[in-house]
Amino acid sequence: MSELYLRSRWFEDLPVGEFHVFGAHTFSELEMIEFSQLYAPQPEYTDPVAARSLRHGGLVAAPWHVVAIWMQMMVSYMERYAHGVQDGRRNGAGVRVENIEWLEPVRPGHTIAYTYEIIDKSETIVRDRWSIIRSRNEAFNQYGDKALSFEIDILAERAPR
């Protein structure tokens, strides 16, 4: 992938309408089970045999696992474009997430592509130097079916004046 930006960007540099496919991940049975044993210990996520007779007819990724991989992809994406920022990032902490919907089960071997689009910016200043960016985030499986959708508000650092 070629570099998209020449510089690290402040809140002011991020336009509404910006859209990226920022990562893709293939889920393995092992990682699905490892996640679920710690965070979602239910047989539809941890036991491939028992899962056959449960809701989805087979093992699926825990809902928050699909979202955790979004975060993993997003951190890696943000780091790639945070040129020259001392601690490696200028965007970060989420304050609110809305309308999370898990629309299709994610099964072992499925490859999920994650997209985001900036849909709104609030000029309100938080703790002296941050403002909020709202993005719509979606994830699609290898058939093109939407598996996940949500909107999130994250803090972005404002340019020094």
Partner: protein, 149 residues
């Protein structure tokens, strides 16, 4: 609907707590949310949060786990979370703090897409041991229609 569910709007349940050790916070963060305030105590002290704290997604996942546990204890045949209308992170969850959830049933509904299930709309308050709110979540969970009586 002929299948009566012995659940009513307004009903409230409180879960047992889960504690977050530094090790557990860092294990999650390394894999899914590798930002300095979730990985490194000295970097975290200089951050917006003021100390090493758990990823909001670790809090979210364990909130759903606690919600499922407290519903099961109340004999509700819960499947899992289906939709989160809104979640707000209001306070960082620092090392060795614990969370518990206070779950209020807002409404009992038919499931939107799967006729074998019903859906509970819940309001979930995620509190620390000092009863300060760490996060708040409005969510829908699917429940097994056959077993809900």
């Amino acid at each position: 609907m002929s299948d009566a569910i012995s659940l009513a709007a307004g009903q409230t349940m409180t879960s047992s707590p889960i504690k977050f050790s530094a090790e557990e916070i860092i294990i999650f963060a390394k894999q899914f949310d590798p930002q300095p305030y979730h990985l490194d105590a000295s970097a975290a002290e200089k951050s917006i949060f003021g100390g090493l704290c758990a990823s909001g997604w670790q809090v979210a996942a364990l909130t759903s786990r606690l919600v499922n546990e407290v519903l099961k204890q109340a004999c509700v045949p819960v499947i899992d979370v289906d939709r989160v209308a809104n979640m707000r992170w209001q306070r960082p969850l620092l090392v060795d703090e614990s969370i518990h959830v206070v779950v209020t049933i807002e409404s009992v509904n038919n499931h939107r897409t799967e006729p074998n299930y019903r859906s509970l709309a819940l309001n979930v308050s995620v509190n620390n041991a000092r009863q300060q709110r760490v996060a708040e979540m409005q969510c829908d969970v699917a429940i097994d229609k056959e077993l809900a009586s």
